[in-house]
Amino acid sequence: MTGSGSCDKTDVSQHLTAQLKNRVFSERAGTMRLVILDDYDLASEWAAKYIRNRIIQFKPSADRYFSLGLPTGSTPYGCYQKLIEYYRNGDISFKYVKTFNMDEYVGLPRAHPESYHSYMWNNFFKHIDIKPANAHILDGNAEDLEAECQAFEQKIAEAGGIELFVGGIGPDGHIAFNEPGSSLVSRTRVKTLAKDTIVANARFFGNDLSKVPTMALTVGVGTVMDAKEVMILITGAHKAFALYKAIEEGVNHMWTVSAFQQHPRTIFVCDEDATLELRVKTVKYFKGLMHVHNKLVDPVLSIKDQ
């Protein structure tokens, strides 16, 4: 560089910093981020910090709730634990947050320990200050399942749409219960579960396949695509192939998470193990961007400072 003194260098670095800022917050340009952390705990923490910052920056109030889409399962468990910790420390409140869960089994009693209602109560709702009326989960025991699905879509619309939809990925690349072959423009509906999914879930029902529910209510791929931002959590080697199919191959209804390649604002948060089936080039590229990604969670905000 043929600069002539320290003044030039300061101008350049200020200019670069401004550009970096724009890169991070450029919503209209469309962003796909692959955030890779070393292990499950760090991935959970990054995701929780991101959710925390998004809610606090939004400045939710009684007139303007933050709508959050939520998943269940072992992947988001660590993220929920961190969010509970932040609530207990007084850094975040869920008082003005509305939540919409992705799915629920059909025909499973709500109080059953494996229902998604039980999961959300025990792993999240009972520990935080969310108002019960703002926690929405599909009712798998509704008299009219189709009406229940339509009502759910209606509630999302009334809430002004979902600001951030957090999801996971199945080993077969599904999002929520949008099994391979699901329409990529689907809405909330009743789905019959794929054999893969039933087998994967058997471990929660004493390994007795006959006890696993065979149907579920689920948000559609289209429903999640309507959200302003989508964050998918993917951890563990058993999800690696699905991640490869979702981001390195084309958009395909057999791997429904691939639909988010066409969403304007997507983040995939993973651990090392989940990247095992990706090309070295892909992983190196996104790891090289971690300093940019980390600006989204550093500094981490707190309501105590407001």
Binding site: R110, A111, W121, K126, K131, P132, A133, I137
Partner: protein, 387 residues
């Protein structure tokens, strides 16, 4: 947060920062109460979209179901077997004082007395719920000498369904009274100080379910005739039935080694009782109680001027602490011996002696040393330890 419910307007209390005894273990969970009963918070959240009106910070305490004392003869100078004109005042006085020991329900006990005493005293003992006035009375517990068969019909009508039968102990003491036993068993739970194991097993099969203060006032264990003690491991107990046995765990009336043997042989039947006499709760020194002069030294109550024990004066919480320390059992087991087991014995396990949803919110808050910090009945604080 204000509460919001469609099912009931009653206020909801949430106990936080506590460890509760549920499913036989201490768990870090909040306890929710509404209308005097334990509430299911998940149902409240999803079905009623409701939440707590009031939060009570337990500062890390243990919450156990309130203690239930099925055998207590009096205390604080009151003797339940005294045929006085104002028995209920005495019962109420003791009921109020034992809240400090974590006892939320009890059975005032009458020692073996002439029938005239029962006729006078029993009608004055009423079953009623507990509250700020004192622990609830679940029924009375009386020791009776079984009458001859022809007197059975005129036997003082059992006011309630709890009764203990202490018979003469000695071989042959029970001949001919099997039908009496059966009749009394049908009307109550009974205990026997019968002579040998097969008589005891017979009694259990007829309906008896409780052994009063194991080891005391019965023939000692013999390896060829275990006597009543053998009931703890008897294979003649009908399926689905449990034989319960009272233990006075004050460290004096039962040697700790004997306590351990009983506990290890049959842990689920152990019921802690105080069997407290009128001198319980009185300060050290001499006291004249009825016809007797009692001398209190520490945990011992002697007939004045002698080394003869006149009865136990340990409080229920002392018994729980001593039982845990002497038997080496877990905190959960010690607490259940004073709450769950007596409730099961009395057939009240569906609403007392546990913290299951729907059960009465009779609670005792304890620190890790199992000292009582506060007592609640139907979700209302009825006693709190001063600073």
């Amino acid at each position: 947060m204000p509460s919001n419910r469609s099912v009931s307007d009653a206020p909801i209390t949430q106990f936080i920062n506590c460890r509760i005894l549920r499913d036989h273990r201490l768990q870090r969970e909040d306890l929710w109460v509404r209308e005097g009963r334990i509430l299911d918070p998940e149902k409240l959240f999803f079905d009623e979209q409701g939440y707590a009106d009031k939060r009570v910070d337990c500062e890390g305490s243990i919450i156990a179901p309130g203690f239930i004392d099925v055998q207590i003869n009096g205390g604080f100078g009151i003797d339940f077997s005294q045929a006085s004109d104002d028995v209920s005042a005495g019962v109420s006085f003791v009921a109020k004082k034992i809240l400090e020991h974590g006892v939320t329900s009890f059975c005032p006990t009458l020692v073996t007395s002439p029938p005239a005493v029962y006729h006078k005293v029993l009608p004055q003992v009423k079953v009623h719920g507990g509250g700020p006035h004192g622990a609830g009375v679940l029924g009375e517990n009386r020791c009776v000498r079984p009458p001859p068969e022809d007197e059975l019909q005129s036997f003082p009508e059992l006011v309630l369904t709890r009764s203990s039968i202490c018979g003469p102990f000695g071989a042959g003491g029970w001949s001919g009274s099997q039908s009496v036993v059966r009749e009394l068993c049908q009307r109550s739970i009974t205990c026997h100080s019968v002579a040998n194991l097969s008589q005891a097993e017979d009694a259990v099969q007829t309906g008896a379910s409780f052994i009063t203060h194991l080891f005391n006032a019965m023939l000692p264990f013999h390896h060829r005739d275990p006597g009543i003690v053998g009931l703890l491991t008897s294979d003649q107990v009908p399926a689905g039935r449990t034989v319960y046995y009272g233990m006075i765990a004050d460290g004096i009336h039962t040697n700790p080694a004997a306590l351990r043997i009983a506990h290890r042989a049959h842990p689920s039947g152990l019921v802690l009782v105080t069997d407290a006499i009128a001198a319980m709760g009185l300060p050290p020194g001499r006291h004249t109680l009825g016809q007797q002069v009692i001398e209190i030294q520490g945990l011992h109550a002697y007939v004045a001027g002698t080394k003869t024990l006149s009865g136990s004066i340990a409080t229920m919480d002392m018994c729980v602490r001593h039982f845990k320390q002497a038997s080496g059992c877990s905190v959960e087991e010690a607490l259940e011996a004073a709450s769950l087991h007596p409730a099961q014995l009395l057939g009240l396990g569906h609403r007392k002696g546990n913290l299951d949803y729907g059960s009465d919110a009779d609670l005792v808050l304890l620190d890790d040393a199992l000292d009582v910090k506060a007592t609640y009945i139907s979700g209302e604080e009825v006693w709190r330890k001063g600073p």
